[in-house]
Symmetry: C2
Subunit: 301 residues, 2 copies
DNA sequence: CATCAAACATCATTATTTATGATGCCAGAA
DNA sequence: TTCTGGCATCATAAATAATGATGTTTGATG
């Protein structure tokens, strides 16, 4: 029957995003969880604080007043968190991060923008490498992000956090004949020109193996482009169909569409941190793990 | 890894009471629960905020600074709660409460003092009655407190909240010969002059029944006083041994001591609220239930 | 006007968190 | 030294919250 402070933070997020699902995203929760929190809050207050309104929600009169008070709580919480950060002397500094190409080019930029809003003084340097190189550099870098099965040679030097599964999809022009299918088999793809990644790419490795399993023969690789963006551009030009991580399409992409492969091709995505992480890097970990997990579970970019 | 707002409230309570167990009481938790919350808080902050010091704890330097911030959070939470209360127009008003004599004279005063600190404008009127009368008055009063088995005639009109078990004890002068025993049987008491409550008292009812069961004969009642305080004063005067609820001894009582009976005599203590409780009475319920429960479970006044 | 898509609520289940009671330990008082 | 009051730790039990699936409403689209 008492007001839970956590619910207040969710309510502030609701007001600031203007929608329940928006608030859920900003707090790294699912939409039902957020709905539940707000329901509980209103029960404990004893009055409705908002109503559904079109594509979002609108505050009631009471809700407006309530927000003023809730905001004070949220701000003093924020002040306290800043204070706690200062204790560790981590207002400013640098973090060196290695990530595989797919991650560095898709999920990571948006994540780091959010992180930078929260900690403007912390600089993050990203190296875009292939998975093997990421492992090698763990001794010199603070953090690593890979999307491949882990080699057995990692165990001692660093901790591994499993973030979720990355799914490979076929990417093609919006009006491509295959776009009518809801999912696509490798055998189907065989009839069309395909665009492959360069040799050494983890994405290409798994595709070659699965291709062999599915069709009984190695793929005939005619077009091969270095890097994800090169593949996408080739697809836009109508050169063929590409296969990339589900997260690789730029936001706002209007010419291309993706279809899931069948059966699904999944790769574990993991975060690597050295045994003795700096407080600075720990902050980034605390931020990235829930951020990336929520993106991976909901399969949304 | 994030700071939980709830933990902050516990930390503020720690500072204000000066001890872990004190903070636990003020938040109606057990001591291990409070210890755990404070441990988690310090883990998430990454630094110790206090150290054990004699009969309590002492803040570290960081703890002092941290408290300033935590206090701000607690105060804005408090402001928000006041606002929520105003929404229901319950800054002021009256609550009529019926309670059995034992409760009205022992647990309730301290509880209402705490309640009054929180809601100074709310007046609570207590009627001290016997259990049967409490049930009868539920139609006209807002709340009831009894410590007897419930009659079967209550079900429809009001909700019953079980609070815990009340234990009867023998009360005697500090240097009474029986005070050397750690617990006392009814058969032992038979050898001493006893002081009984008046007829109609729920406490006397259960004692008479149990006396018959334990000794095979009804008690010979020589001294009979009206009301708990009369019984206690008689004991102080050396007239005999009394039997009352464990909570009946005034705080700071220096002449008397109590010993548990064997086997234990327990009675359920319950709160009764009418079907449609006023928001005002609901506030009191929300306060009394955890308050009384924690007192009953820990068997402490 | 009918259909579609987006956003929120609800539900049953699972997972996580939290509190509890018992126990052990340490410091200060007798 | 022994005893007492207060805090930490532990295993277990209870309460709470999150999830994924599903149903419902609203605004947009053809």
């Amino acid at each position: 029957m008492t007001i839970h402070p956590d619910h207040l933070l969710s309510f502030v997020a609701l007001v600031q995003t203007g929608s329940v699902s928006g608030a859920a995203q900003s707090r790294f929760l699912t939409q039902p969880a957020m709905s539940n929190q707000l329901k509980r809050l209103q029960e404990s207050v004893g009055m409705p604080l908002y109503r559904r309104k079109g594509r979002g929600v609108q505050l009631t009169g009471v809700g407006e007043d309530f927000y003023i008070h809730a905001l004070k709580v949220q701000q003093s919480m924020q002040a306290l968190n800043s204070f706690a950060d200062e204790l560790h002397g981590l207002q400013a500094g640098r973090i060196y991060l290695s990530a595989s190409q797919t991650i560095a080019g898709s999920l990571l930029p948006a994540a780091l923008v959010s992180f930078h809003q929260r900690y403007p003084q912390i600089e993050v340097f990203v190296d875009s490498l292939n998975s093997q190189q990421v492992f090698e550099r763990m001794e010199h870098h603070d953090l690593g992000l890979v999307e491949s099965p882990l080699p057995s040679s990692v165990p001692e030097c660093c901790t591994v956090v499993h973030l979720g599964e990355d799914k490979l999809v076929a990417v093609m022009p919006k009006h491509h004949p295959l776009a009518v299918s809801s999912s696509i088999t490798l055998a189907q793809l065989d009839a069309y020109p395909l665009i492959w990644r360069e040799q050494g790419s983890g994405t290409r490795d798994i595709l070659e193996r699965e291709w062999l399993k599915a069709t009984g023969k190695p793929p005939r690789i005619q077009l091969c482009m270095g890097g994800v963006s090169a593949v996408l551009e080739s697809v836009r030009q109508g050169l063929g169909i590409g296969m990339v991580s589900q997260f690789c399409l730029p936001t706002g992409e209007s010419m291309l569409t993706t279809r899931p492969l069948h059966p699904q091709l999944l790769r574990p995505m993991s975060l690597l941190q050295p045994s003795h992480t700096s407080p600075l890097a720990k902050k980034l970990v605390d931020f990235l793990v829930p951020y990336l997990k929520s993106r991976l579970y909901s399969n949304l970019p």
